[in-house]
Symmetry: C2
């Protein structure tokens, strides 16, 4: 199959490398016809072009979009689909925002729009959701979907270190960006949760659910939780109930010895539960050049082998705040206890800090109260306590 690659950054160059490597089992099935780079950038390969029209007017059958960001990725993907070229992308931001438009356009033009690499990197996660759905309807899923924040939490725990020191190490290793906000504030995961939940629940899920990241976690917090035999992970969850859904992103405390607690370094772990299949969990590299490129190429091979991917987004679901009582640990200097009627609160002092254990609150209530707390105490932190393990 003749293909073009838009962008020659981490993912784009990874796709090119694998497709032109003699040691890859699939290289003979592909011919990379063109690589689009930005105007004024040096053309380091003879097949590099800087005008999307060169690709649109060519006979390439499939285009890999690996530019990242919203524009021009959005416009280029649209144009490629309109020119009846299959599109495969690793770009979670553009998929999360425009998946309805792209999916409709692909259908209209009888081509594929695939995005396995956008969520869970090398883990065949989108594929897993689609496969589980062939038999079971999916009621809920959850997971660790950001390698950078997992690296930070894992090393804070194992090295007894401060957040800022491990963040710096992650930046040196290339795991974290110079501006780490997307990873540590949960916005990277927000895109991935939108994509996963939309596919799982067959309804476009907007980015309007509660998100709380790990920016404020301290060495003392990790130590406090360690004494309780718990390990902190940044978790995305989604659930469907009748015609309503619930999503959230928040730090959660898992017991030592549980599978979630055991995910090391920058790995991801995605969990799904089906009525007949039970629990299925998938572990792997959620990011990185070659694992992400591998996921892109899996999609390309599916196109060659005509393996159908049914992306359905036609259900009508509404967001519904979670009704399930949950438990949280909060560290803050200004707990507005008057906001917590009928809620059990226990206070613990630890190394000069005050921790509150709150039971019988809902996720949405807790996130709303935390927003208020952060008006007064912008360094406050919260973590959900998984009661199931008690």
């Amino acid at each position: 199959m003749k293909i073009a690659i838009l962008g020659y950054g981490t993912v784009g160059s990874g796709v090119y490398e694998i497709l032109t490597s003699s040691s890859s089992a699939c290289a003979s099935r592909f011919h990379v016809h063109a690589v689009l780079i930005r105007k004024n950038k040096p053309k380091t390969l003879p097949i590099m072009v800087d005008d999307i029209e060169d690709i649109l007017s060519s006979d390439v059958e499939a285009v890999v979009e690996a530019m990242g960001g919203i524009e021009p990725a959005h416009t280029y993907i649209k144009k490629c689909l309109e020119h009846k070229k299959h599109v495969v992308t690793a770009n979670k931001a553009v998929v999360a925002k425009y998946m309805r438009e792209f999916t409709a356009l692909a259908k209209e033009n009888d081509v594929s729009f695939l995005f396995e690499a956008s969520t869970g990197g090398g883990i065949p996660w989108i594929h897993a959701i689609e496969n589980v759905k062939r038999i079971d309807s999916i009621r809920q899923f959850h997971g660790i979907f950001n390698g950078t924040s997992n690296y930070i939490l894992d090393h804070m725990y194992k090295d007894n270190a401060e957040f800022s020191d491990i963040l710096k190490k992650a930046q040196e290793l290339g795991y974290a960006e110079a501006d780490p906000s997307a990873d540590i504030d949960g916005f990277d995961i927000q895109n991935k949760l939108q994509i996963s939940a939309s596919i799982a629940f067959e309804c476009y899920i907007p980015n309007t659910f509660p998100v709380f990241g790990i920016r404020n976690v301290t060495k003392t917090d990790i130590e406090f939780f360690k004494e309780k035999n718990r390990i902190l992970k940044l978790i995305a969850t989604a659930a469907i109930h009748d015609d309503t859904y619930h999503c959230s992103i928040e730090p959660r405390l898992y017991p030592l010895g549980s599978l979630e607690a055991s995910v090391p370094e920058n790995f991801n772990l995605a969990s799904i539960h089906g009525v007949t299949i039970g629990d299925l969990k998938f572990y792997g590299q959620g990011a990185g050049k070659l694992p992400t490129a591998n996921a892109v190429i899996q999609d390309l091979i599916d196109i060659i082998e005509k393996k159908a991917h049914a992306v359905l987004l036609d259900k009508d679901l509404n967001y519904h705040p979670s009704q399930r009582p949950a438990s949280y640990w909060i560290r803050t200097k200004s707990m507005p206890l008057e906001q917590l009627p009928n809620i059990t609160v226990k206070v613990h002092a630890y190394l000069g800090h005050t921790y509150y254990f709150i039971q019988g609150i809902t996720t949405d209530q807790m996130h709303a109260i935390m927003q208020n707390i952060q008006q007064e105490d912008k360094h406050a932190f919260m973590a959900a306590w998984e009661e199931d393990y008690d």
Copy 2:
């Protein structure tokens, strides 16, 4: 698609239940035309028949073999393929023994022979191997492939209990057979390792590799290892190097906090490593009525959707003893130290037992010596020590 089911035990009845349940997403795609049961058994469903000829002469397109055992499963599968019916099976014993014959016969008759459910139960493991192979060549894989033995080891550890007490509990729960030998001596895993390695390495792998089970493990052994922060798991491994392969099944000691050590109850965990994808791990129910039936139905849907499965067994590989130096703990009353030239042995006394820590030995040497030891001391036990974590 019109199908027939051979056998109405755990798996057969599970397939029937899912395919006739209004809550399953795929029920409308199938019509169960006939269920074959043994002669003289009461026919509890109107579609039950007791003569394979009734199915061979019908217009069913696919047959699910869920009888288990070698005969008549082998003969019936052959006949179905010869009658140009697709065959899907969960029967690991017959697949491990006859996969070459079945695969050739399926090709000859232009139908599919699929066996996802034979290995890893509900985990899409065969599918994962096939997918990784589309891009990477597989150098090695390993995993926990037997839920019963994992249940026993997990509960011996967590409940501080003797092997015999937990085995009894597993039998009461229906996890273990009245004769538990297949599960605790590693023969169930042997079939699964043959199947997985044959698919991964594209060569039929016979059952001639070293196997050591968990029959002899004691409460004291688990305690001794617990003091070293290690957890015992029964692990199958396979590796390929040039035109030779190595396989083994043995108890291994993983550090607390590692993913393998964290697999609870009767779950399985299968791990694969590819050059570009890195580590991928798959966790789920390795057995049980509905998870196994789910895997059978995934194969049936692949047949409907014409998703190709390329089963290649045409490579010529030879078994080669592992050259890699490994470390083992041995508990025995009769260690033949003269058999261990150039090997480091340290002796530890623990609660009246003698444990030997052996370094720099190979897997095949250790298994051979253990066979000799068991001539004198049939209760001796060994466990591999994963040095990678030190």
